[in-house]
Amino acid sequence: MSTKVEAPVPEPLSLERNGVELTGVSRSFGAITALEGLDLRVRPGEVMAVVGPSGCGKSTLLEIVAGLQEPDAGSARAGAGPSASSAATRRAACAYMPQRDLLLPWRDALGNAALALECQGVARAEARRRAEPLFERFGLADFERSRPAELSGGMRQRVAFLRTLLPGRPVLLLDEPFGALDAITRGSMQEWLAGALLAEPRTVLLVTHDVEEAVFLADRVAIMSARPGRIVATLHVPLPRPRRLTDARLVELRAAALEALA
């Protein structure tokens, strides 16, 4: 996927001030403790990957940052300003891409991509007009009028990406964005995302259980323990971009991450 992605952003982002900070975050559901005393900092403009075993609380962690849940203890900040710890401010600062694409089956691809803009009060026709030019750059040309059921898994994911990116929010929260894709599509989508982030840097918190994906995309990789989830190690990935999956140093880092996970 050599599709070039340019900023679908109406105004320039002030990356300097838009980071993520979790301090001593705990969260339980009844008897299940999903997160306990979790600390995590994502610097503005940094791509941070979080890897961990299934069920360790990765989605819970993202939803807390996104302002969709509150921690039982500890504090969560996302975005800029003194109010960055309120859930409403976190919601406004974060573009959250859920684990499943959650496209509306009755809307065509263009309507689905435009949804985020509509929610900000942009009229439907205007929102569609603004989303349309991006379809080509996202490798979706000629599929504007297709309903989700008519799209391939990779295309659905790209529509979901478009919906996530369009409102131009500074912090990007991705929950296993490629988890449901086959290996070949996943590889090309990873390259596509790397290119997109190179063209338009954002603060990214990427959750995955694919260690290779983490070291390929991220500046730093945080390793989570099994439930209750905590960050047990953080790995730096000091490799220049564009990266190649076959790079020997990348393979080395992948082995180190796997070891930290075990």
Partner: protein, 250 residues
């Protein structure tokens, strides 16, 4: 296609059995008209039957329209307000326990022989499946979608309009299909309690005057009406939510 043929075959078997039973010597002609006699009545009394059928059809159509409007308003209100839902649900169920046969004459007393009591009775039976089904639909919307809408900063009303209502359209149509089939019965009850015209009244009159074939002709028309309304609702569903078919892996 094979489904249509099967239905036709079943229908033929049924009519043949009906003709057979009606031809038995021990069966009184006044109790059971044969299909042939019924067909004769349909032909001979067509203009009378059709005039009355049109009256009943108007009652049913208007009654259904009212029940859709009422049903949607009730379901949405109960969906938006939890206390209202808890308070109103038992009352909704109770409304279906009202014996229509007793209620109809009272309504006629109150509103006279006009169309009013018929609409009230049709709407009373029909709003229930619509409300209950739509409410189920609104409550079973994928929680992830609601989370997504919240993260996008959508207002309650926008989430209702762009996600919850479209997602529960198939449920609304399920309710409408049930309503369509029982609506005709409602109109007949309404006419029995007091009316100047309508198929229900014609059937009742025919019964009293021992015009058995005409009674059967009326029943056939009422049945066809219910089937046609059901088919219409099913067609509307297919046009309104084509995605619902694509989604389901047969």
């Amino acid at each position: 296609m094979t489904r249509v043929l099967l239905t036709a075959a079943l229908l033929v078997v049924f009519v043949a059995a009906w003709q057979g039973v009606a031809s038995l010597d021990s069966v009184d002609d006044l109790t059971l008209a044969s299909p042939v006699e019924t067909l004769d009545a349909l032909r001979d009394d067509w203009s009378l039957l059709w005039d009355n059928a049109r009256v009943t059809l108007v009652e049913v159509a208007l009654g259904l329209a009212i029940s859709v409007a009422v049903g949607v308003v009730f379901a949405v209100a109960m969906h938006l307000s939890r206390p209202l839902r808890d308070a109103a649900y038992p009352l909704l169920v109770a409304s279906q326990a009202i014996p229509i046969v007793v209620l109809a004459p009272i309504l006629v007393l109150a509103f006279d022989y006009g169309i009013g009591p018929k609409l009230a009775i049709v709407a009373l039976i029909c709003f229930f499946p619509i409300t209950v089904n739509l409410l189920d639909g609104l409550r079973s919307v994928e929680p992830g979608l609601l989370k997504l809408m919240r993260s996008l900063g959508a207002s309650r009303l926008r989430t209702l309009r762009t996600v919850e209502l479209p997602a529960s359209l198939p449920y609304l149509f399920s309710g409408l299909k049930i309503a369509a089939t029982v609506s005709v019965i409602g109109a007949v009850f309404g006419e029995w309690a007091g009316a100047d015209e309508g198929l229900g009244r014609l059937v009742l009159l025919g019964n009293n005057q021992l015009q058995t074939p005409r009674v059967y002709a009326g029943i056939v028309l009422l049945t066809l009406m219910a089937v046609a309304l059901f088919a219409l609702a099913a067609l509307a569903e297919r046009l309104a939510c084509p995605w619902n078919r694509e989604e389901r892996p047969e």
